[in-house]
Structure formats: C-alpha cells, structure tokens
C-alpha cells in the first residue's frame, strides 16, 4: 500500500482537520465530530441540507458544503457510513427552524444510520425530510432487494436541492425537486484498477493487466462484469447505452452530462470519453445543456470513470445554473 498518510486509523480525522485548515473562513468543524458545516449555519429561515457517507469519495461530501449547496457533510470512516450520533449532530448544527433535508445514497448502512438520526432529531423536535439517491443502473432496481446504489448522480442532487434551499424553498418543495432529480438521473461506472482502504492495507480486488470491471460501485466493491479492456469509445458507448436503456430520454430532451473520474484517472481520459458520449447523445438528437467533467465522487485511488445523465426541465435547469460557492462545485 503506497499512501501519503500518517496513521491508517487517523486518515479521516487528519483529512477533516486539513479541510478546515484550507477553508477556515467557509467551514467549521462541529466539536468532537467529523461533521463539517457552513461557517454561517444554522441560517435562520433556510432549510438545512445535510449529506454524507463513508470517506474516500472526496471531494464528496465536504467539498459540496457551501453557499448554494450543502449546509453540512458527515464523514464516516473510509467507505463506512457515519453513525447516527454524528448525523444527528449535523442535523442539529444546521437547523435554522425550517427543518433539515437529508440526501442519502441508497446503501443499507447509509439509509439505516441516517434514518436513525432522523428519528432522533424528530424526537428533539426538528422536522426532517429526506431523499434516497439510487442512480446506478448497474444494479437491478427491485423492491425485494437493497436496490440500486447511489453514486455520482448524488452530486447533482446536492446542487439542485441546494439551490432550491438557498432560494428559500420549503422542506416540502426541496423534497419535491430532489425526488424529481432522483427520478431523472442515472449513472454507470467502470474501473481499470481497484483501490486500497488504508486500514485494510491491501486492494479490495485485483484486475489483470488487460481486464476491466464494468458496473463498478464507489466502495472498491467489484463490479457486475469483468472483461478485457476495450477502447474509450467502446466503454463510453456501453455505459451510455446502458443508461439510455434504463431511462427514456427522447429526441429534443435537454440533459446534463457528468463524466466523473474515480480517483486515479487522468483528466485527459475523461475528456476522451466525453467526446464519445456527446457524439452518441448528439446522434440521438438529445440536447446537452451542461457538461461536468472532473472528479466529483471518487473511490480513493481507483482508475475508472462513471457517466451520469440527468434529464432536465426548466426548473432543474435554473437550479443547476444557480450560483454555488462550495469549493468542489463552483458555478
């Protein structure tokens, strides 16, 4: 394991400290927690937005704390959902009297811990609403199982719900628009290499020199299919088509595109993939309203990408374009 760290058991604490040290005028650390909150939170009259999850997905989630996006982010241990007491602290820190909205990725751990925190917060008289993001089409959407995972599409939920909250939206209105994003966002990923949880010390899986994993998640879990590496164009085509099979995006529709790097992928490769994705969309008569290329939801030092498509209406367009001062999503 080659990492620039001090103690594998302290990486999250060290990171959070380093984050605060980078943006002391923008964020503050809730004492005795791994919760980062906007300096000015709680903001009276504004619904508070809380997201979070395991660490190792940087810039998610702290990078999205800022005016126009989240009010607080809860950092769990690496790839491990944060505990309910931590989430509760975040909720309490950002409640400005209008309630708190939770953005949760659909993993058993995240759902359980956030829901327990929500119950505790309600017991303390704080109104809580939530959305569960499940954009990963690599996993089957079934009510008998855990269902689809939440991956990079979550960032667009942060952005749009954040803009709604910033513009004075009520808890109910934020819930509505967040649900709309979740209904219209789909993603799928692939990887060339695995990654190593610092405390585990060895990679989660290994791929041969000529292999890739299709349908990878963001926790170093193996993907859905292992096969020989193909070209960027073929990878872009496979992922884009899988998404387009899952969600009806018609000729003339407007969408946002996110080409997300999983950690070790050179940005060059993201743009190479982007070219093909845009070509496919163009050929389908789909109009790309905005494109985001970069590292938005990573998996430590995994080499790989995910593609996210979000179908937009006028409301979503406006909210997507609204200003954001979060360090990892400026617009």
């Amino acid at each position: 394991m080659k990492k620039i760290i001090n103690d594998p058991d302290q990486v999250v604490q060290d990171m959070v400290n380093g984050y605060i040290a980078a943006y002391p005028e923008k964020v503050r650390l809730i004492p005795n927690t791994l919760v980062l909150a906007r300096k000015e939170a709680p903001i009276k009259g504004k619904v508070g937005l809380v997201s979070g999850g395991g660490s190792g997905h940087e810039p998610a989630h702290a990078g999205y704390v800022g005016k126009g996006m989240l009010d607080a982010a809860v950092a769990g241990e690496v790839f491990t959902s944060p505990t309910p007491d931590q989430v509760l602290e975040a909720i309490k820190a950002v409640d400005g009297g209008e309630g708190v909205f939770l953005i949760i990725k659909n993993y058993t751990g995240d759902v359980l811990n956030f829901e327990m925190a929500a119950e505790m917060a309600e017991a303390e008289g704080i109104q809580v609403e939530k959305v569960i993001v499940n954009d990963d089409v690599a996993v089957e959407d079934s009510s008998f199982t855990t269902g689809r995972r939440g991956i990079a599409g979550t960032v667009l939920v942060h952005k749009i719900a954040g803009a709604k909250a910033e513009s004075g939206g009520s808890l109910k209105e934020i819930k509505q628009v967040a649900d709309k994003v979740v209904a219209n966002v789909r993603s799928m990923g692939m990887a060339l290499t695995s990654c190593t949880v610092p405390a585990a010390g060895k990679p989660s899986f290994t791929l041969k020199e000529d292999e890739m994993e299709i349908g990878i998640g963001i926790h170093g879990e193996p993907g859905i299919e292992r096969k020989p590496i193909t070209s960027a164009d073929e990878i872009a085509t496979e992922l884009t088509n899988r998404i387009l099979e899952d969600i009806e995006i018609s000729k003339g529709n407007n969408i946002a595109v996110m080409i997300n790097g999983l950690g070790a992928t050179p940005e060059m490769e993201l743009y190479i993939v982007n070219e093909k994705v845009q070509g496919i969309l163009h050929d389908n008569g789909i109009h790309v309203y905005r494109t985001f290329v970069g590292e938005y939801m990573t998996s430590l030092e995994m080499a790989g990408i995910s593609i996210t498509l979000l179908k937009l209406d006028d409301e979503l367009k406006t909210l997507l374009d609204a200003g954001s001062e979060a360090p990892a999503f400026r617009s």
Binding site: E77, S81, D85, G109, V139, S204, H219
Partner: protein
C-alpha cells in the same frame, strides 16, 4: 445457561478478542461481495465497547448490554453498526430489571432482538445476512429447555454453512446476485464469533 453482570462482561470481552483476532479475515470476507471494511468496523467498535465496559461499574446485565448497544451504535458505522446496536438494544430492553438472566429470559430477549433486527434491516431469513445466524440461535433457545454450549456452537456453525450457499438479496452482497453464492457473509461470521464466545464463557 445463566448470565450475570460479570459473565456478560466476560462474554462481550471474549467476543471482542475473537473479532480482533479475526479482523483481517472478516475484512477479507467483505472484499469479494462487499466493500472490505467489516473487520475494521467491528474491531474498532468492539474495542471501544471493551474500553467503555472497563470504565463503568454495572449493577444489572441490561446496563452492560445498553452500553454495548450505544457504543456499537456510535463506533461501528456501516450497515452492521445500527443492526448490531439494534439487537443489543432489544436485548437490553427485554432484560431490564433482572440481576441474573436465566435461559428462558434470554430466549425471550433473543426473540425480541431478532424481530428488531429484521425490522430495522427489512431483511428476513434466507437473504444471506447476519439474520441467518441470529434467527436459528434464537430458535434454539426458544425450543430447548436446556441449551448447552455445544448446541450453541453446533447451531451457529450449521447456520454459517447454510449462509454460504444462499444468494444475497439484502446488503451490499445483493449487488452480486448469483455471484454471491459460495461466499460467506461477513456479518454472519462476526455474529458467529459472538455466539462462539457465549458458548465459551
């Protein structure tokens, strides 16, 4: 089988020892069909539990179990954190007020624990989770007047055997569908250690 404060503490400490010893193994089990953190989560959480137990003086078994539950809740994280916290919290509530827990009381507690676990995780038997160890053990206590150590061990290891051949439909392992068959479930294995420890104290 009877549990008093000191035996309960011994139980949990022995469970912790087994978890620490098998930390890497549990993590390895979580890699092919999960995210490779289960051993790390359990080791961190149970270490904190033992530290907590050493700090306090306990009058009642349920007080011990409550601290176990609350420490797990705030230190384990992931899916297993709230689920293990739930089982110990349900046990706590069922056993409240008793100095010495007899087998019948423990059986009732386990029953409550399994119901709470299934409700919290929306899982039932056969979905390749820790439920598939906790549920047969609860049944064992429910249906036998005299549960001895070897029957606990026997039941727990039979349960693990079956878990291996199940297809996961809950938790992370469910993403792998058929491919999850043939793998052990890490949370089932850590649950096994908890009962192995119970059998040994």
């Amino acid at each position: 089988m009877e549990l008093d404060v000191s035996r309960t503490i011994k139980w949990i400490k022995l469970a912790n020892e087994k978890i620490q010893m098998n930390k890497d193994y549990l993590t390895t089990l979580d890699q092919p069909i999960g995210d490779g953190d289960h051993g790390i989560n359990m080791a961190r959480g149970f270490q904190a539990v033992v530290t907590k137990l050493d700090e306090e003086d306990y009058q009642e078994v349920s007080d011990v179990l409550k601290d176990v539950a609350m420490t797990i809740m705030s230190k384990v994280g992931g899916a297993s954190g709230p689920l293990f916290a739930t089982v110990f919290l349900k046990l706590t509530n069922a056993l409240k007020g008793e100095q010495i827990i007899n087998q019948k009381q423990f059986a009732i507690g386990l029953n409550e624990a399994v119901s709470g676990l299934k409700q919290r995780g929306k899982a039932t038997e056969g979905e390749k989770t820790m439920v598939d160890v906790w549920s047969p053990i609860a049944d064992l206590f429910q249906t036998n007047e005299e549960v001895d150590h070897s029957s606990i061990l026997q039941t727990a290891s039979n349960a693990l055997e079956k878990v291996k051949d199940m297809m996961a439909t809950k938790g992370r392992a469910s993403y792998f569908k058929e491919k999850s068959i043939g793998h052990l479930d890490p949370g089932a294995v850590s649950s096994y250690y908890i009962f192995e420890a119970l059998a040994e104290v």
